[in-house]
Amino acid sequence: MDTFAQLVILTLAAGTPLVFAALGELVTEKSGVLNLGVEGMMLVGAVVAFMVAATSGSPWLGILAGMGAGAATSLIFGAITLSLLANQVATGLALSLFGIGLSAFVGLDFVSVVIAGITPLSIGGLSDLPVVGQLVFGHNPLVYLSFALFALVQWFLYRSRGGLVLRAVGESPQSAHAIGYPVIAIRYAAVLFGGACAGLAGAYLSVAYTPLWVEGMVAGRGWIALALVVFATWKPWRVLAGAYLFGGVTLAQFQVQALGVAIPSQYLSMLPYLATIVVLAMISRDAVAIRLNAPASLGRPFHPAA
């Protein structure tokens, strides 16, 4: 196969979980809610998707179950922060710790199970076309789904009435409440959407990308997705660009090893985390741009009477 096409395919495949998770978190944050539990929701999504795929034999059913599981875990976060007005940072951390524990616990019997995952498309004839065939038709079906999700989020946020209301809630919940919008309900919806997307990201990892279940397999991608939202200054297209950038960095470790360069694997495994730190510092440096782009009420609880 053409090496260039191969590289593009692998980069997109590695970046896709970040696209799902970061787009979901972007929508949540646009409503003014900061959910730091992405890592936990991804793990719960991954383990549930894998369990359902393994027992039912249908990977697609697994994907759906993973989305549902991610949304269900985000509901716990929503109940505690939106209805009970708890601190969003602490609750998000709790959600991540809870998700790590829960997924390790329920997934124990599935650690060495083998499943038939979702494999890249192969459309007879079309995928065999030189260069273009692989580039356009050779991806995993979920990669196309991530493109669709991007288009949906972009359209919803900036071209639909619902997106305008969502952004208004994130900028000034008091004003939105005064006009008569149900702030808490809208925030619940945004949190659930973020949870479903994180679940989908996890499901992609366990059912399509690897496909297997290992304790803690999300390996910090949830936190990287959170950093990506800041990196993207809350703009969907920049989330997409950032996700593929990080996909490429993740890939470097396999590429370098394949080339036979004698460098301990740990150095290369550090790369995505170090890259996140560097990129975050570079973007955050411009405090004005961050303040202008971040939803004004991000992280603050809303109580109608207050």
Partner: protein
């Protein structure tokens, strides 16, 4: 319809009742959950909370595991009270273990009472250095310390893995990724016969006491509390925000680094790819459950340590996976955060609001006749 109504003043009762509510609710969830896993809930309760403590050895283990938790939580609490969110204590612990372990290996065979103090100093320095990175990134580049400190956990773990797989691997260790066993002089002496409890426990208590004196009695501690409670007032009073960040991060890092030395110079006795079963993360829960207060932190660390022991005991006695510990830790924190709402709010059954009542309570509307 029940709604939340803001209390005129935070409830002190609920501030301390809330952890008890959370513990009770977590145990209740356990009771409901164990039958679902096919276990008798009373047997499970016994295995989880009673069995680990029915011997002197067990009590020693309880205090042994509580030591790093209370040490780290004390350091983190100083930061959290100042609104500095260091969640990378696990990485700072690992760096402390690397630095302290490096000293132990460099002085291998040296029989001097100075080895342990040197290891501790190196461990604190390692933790402080690791915490200094997010502090610098936050003060210099405005980068969110939650994300950077967490990313550094992965980097620290990989660094330790690199060292024990390569440079520091025991040549006579049959290729296992671990260092030489430390010399006797690099091991914390035992404190209580027939247990594994070592003097690190007293060190942990000393750290908690020092933390209390610093936060409650010192001027700098007072400034940090003000910066956490009222950032605008702190700014107006001339309290330096960058200094608050630096102090909040470095204190947490130093405590975590010291806890790392306590582990490798205590129960482990060498460097391994993993030197902590997530103490750095569990300590976050300890800090919150302990209300960011030293006395609370001591009790919360004992509880969290019991959850670790209970998980191991449930694995031995009930064939339950020890991962159940993490599940309970997370559940406990959820209940705590949920119960905390009653510190600032109380429940009110809303009266039916009638038009007349609205008009009566609102003179402007009454006058305009709406």
């Amino acid at each position: 319809m029940i709604r939340l109504e803001a209390r005129p003043e935070p409830s002190r009762t609920f501030k301390w009742a809330s952890p008890l509510i959370a513990v009770t609710a977590t145990v209740a969830i356990g009771f409901a959950l164990f039958p679902a896993m096919g276990k008798n809930p009373f047997d499970a309760f016994h295995a989880f909370f009673v069995k680990p403590l029915d011997s002197l050895y067990g009590v020693g283990e309880l205090l042994l595991k509580a030591s790093p938790l209370m040490m780290i939580a004390t350091g983190l609490a100083a930061g959290y009270r100042a609104n500095v969110w260091n969640i990378g204590a696990e990485g700072q612990l690992t760096l402390g273990a690397i630095a302290g372990g490096g000293v132990a290996l460099a002085l291998h065979g040296v029989d001097s009472p100075l080895v342990l103090p040197l290891m501790m100093a190196a461990g604190v320095a390692g933790g402080v250095a690791w915490a200094a990175i997010p502090a610098w990134l936050r003060t210099r580049f405005n980068a969110n310390e939650i994300l950077t400190s967490l990313m550094l956990v992965y980097v620290a773990t990989l660094t330790l893995s690199l060292l024990v797989h390569d440079a520091w691997r025991d040549p006579e260790g049959f290729n296992f990724p671990q260092s030489k066993l430390f010399s006797e002089s690099a091991i914390l002496p035992n404190m209580l016969e027939a247990t594994r409890l070592h003097w690190g426990f007293l060190l942990a208590l000393a750290v908690v006491a020092a933390g209390w004196v610093f936060m409650q009695m010192s001027y700098v501690g007072y400034q940090m509390r003000v910066a956490g409670l009222a950032p605008a007032a702190a700014h107006y009073a001339g309290i330096s925000a960058p200094r608050t960040v630096w102090l909040g991060m470095l204190i947490g890092g130093g405590c975590a680094g010291l806890a790392g030395v306590g582990e490798i110079a205590g129960p482990i006795g060498q460097l391994q790819p993993s030197v902590s079963p997530g103490y750095g993360f569990a300590a976050i829960i300890v800090a919150f459950v302990g209300r960011l207060h030293p006395v609370g932190i001591v009790f919360a660390s004992l509880l969290m340590s019991l959850l670790y022991l209970g998980g191991e005991s449930a694995q031995l006695n009930l064939a339950l996976p020890s991962a159940v510990t993490g599940l309970f830790q997370g559940t406990l924190l959820f209940f705590l955060l949920a119960a905390d709402v009653f510190i600032h709010y109380r429940l009110r059954g809303a009266k039916r609001v009638t038009r007349a009542a609205v008009a009566a309570s609102d003179p402007a509307r009454k006058m305009s006749g709406v």
